[in-house]
């Protein structure tokens, strides 16, 4: 597969995943770019083309987790609420809220729900995360409940 095609096809999804994880447009772009640099470097060695999506999402998810090494930037979960909204201003209110609520989840829950929202099959999420499919199903269900509860609380 040609890198440019992969890049075009996956940029949007990967950027959204990173954006959901850090809730900061600039930072998300950095992580997405680092992910594609790895993809570009490792692509010649990659053989299993049917699983290319899983492979790219794995790299991106791990890159997100690695952000704890960057001490000068705090993961979204630790940023005071008033500073947190660095998302695109044109975003619709509900999507903004969704980003905010996701950023309040713990790190691994954030990754799991973002993969689910990207419509990745749960067996693939299980491969990316390294847990059983049943475990993922339970976790997705619980995280969704948490998020919906926050939406509900916001309505009141």
């Amino acid at each position: 597969m040609i890198f440019e095609e992969i890049y075009e096809a996956y940029w949007g999804k990967i950027y959204r995943l990173c954006m959901g994880y850090v809730n900061d447009a600039e930072w998300a772009k950095d992580i997405a770019q680092e992910t594609f640099i790895t993809v570009w470097q490792q692509l010649p060695k990659f053989r299993n083309e049917s699983a290319i999506g899983t492979w790219i999402f794995k790299i991106a998810s791990n890159n997100c987790l690695r952000q704890i090494e960057k001490n000068n930037r705090m993961p979204a979960g630790e940023i005071p609420t008033q500073m947190m909204d660095k998302a695109e201003p044109s975003m619709e209110e509900n999507i903004r809220l969704l980003y905010k609520y996701i950023s309040e989840l713990n790190e691994t829950d954030r990754i799991i729900i973002l993969l689910e929202l990207e419509d990745i099959k749960q067996n693939e999420i299980a491969t990316i995360v390294g847990l059983s499919e049943t475990n993922i199903r339970v976790k997705v269900h619980r995280i969704k409940e948490k998020l919906l509860k926050k939406f509900k609380q916001n309505e009141q």
Binding site: G12, I59, L65, T108, N135, K144
Partner: protein
């Protein structure tokens, strides 16, 4: 808004962000490569300069005794080892593979950080031992022609300096390095625990 909101549909509603030009990506890759190369160049210059400086000092005194030469050699070895381990070996040994699953990645990450903690501690101790022994050997010739008081002063001051390094500078440096690493290991561990958390936790 209704609480039966479909999160997936809401998420998918977002307009797709167009991918920035690949030129930008390749420029960034090149910049990263350059940064690594510059770091290697700087390390090598620093290494060469350190060695040249120590050899120059050694030569300026025209050492005759083997102990002096050995002392200088040990100090050079200490500094070279320190520089090489920190700038070359450590990053290589601590390379993380991002193509594994998250749970493997986190465990690998934790192991790497623990290894780094151990290495830093060990290397720093070896560094101070080599440096101290080297300095001690070096002073044998320098203090040779001095009287008893002179010798006592040279060895006294050297011993004080060595003790100060070993009991104050070394633990302080280790503590500082460990504190940052410990904090990171704790957070990684808590991420790992999040993954393994049992599914009957209460929902917050």
């Amino acid at each position: 808004m209704n609480s039966d909101i479909d999160l997936k549909a809401l998420w998918q509603q977002q307009p797709d962000m167009p991918a920035p030009d690949t030129k930008e990506l390749f420029a960034k890759a090149a910049k990263l490569k350059m940064k690594t190369r510059n770091k290697i160049i700087i390390t090598n210059i620093l290494l060469a300069a350190t060695c040249a400086f120590i050899v120059f000092i050694g030569e300026a005194y025209h050492p005759k005794m083997i102990t002096t030469k050995l002392g200088i050699l040990l100090m050079v070895i200490a500094m070279i080892m320190y520089l090489i381990v920190y700038n070359r070996l450590l990053p290589l040994l601590l390379k993380n593979n991002s193509e594994t699953s998250i749970s493997q990645y986190l465990q690998q990450f934790i192991r790497i950080k623990q290894k780094q903690e151990f290495l830093q501690k060990t290397i720093l101790s070896i560094y101070f031992v080599l440096l101290s022994v080297g300095l001690f050997l070096y002073f044998i010739e320098v203090a040779g022609p001095m009287g008893t008081i002179g010798k006592a002063m040279v060895y006294g001051i050297t011993a004080l300096w060595i003790l100060f390094n070993w009991f104050y500078i070394r633990p302080r440096t280790i503590k500082k390095q460990q504190a940052a690493l410990d904090a990171m290991i704790d957070r990684l561990q808590s991420m790992n625990d999040q993954l393994n958390a049992s599914s009957n936790d209460t929902i917050i």
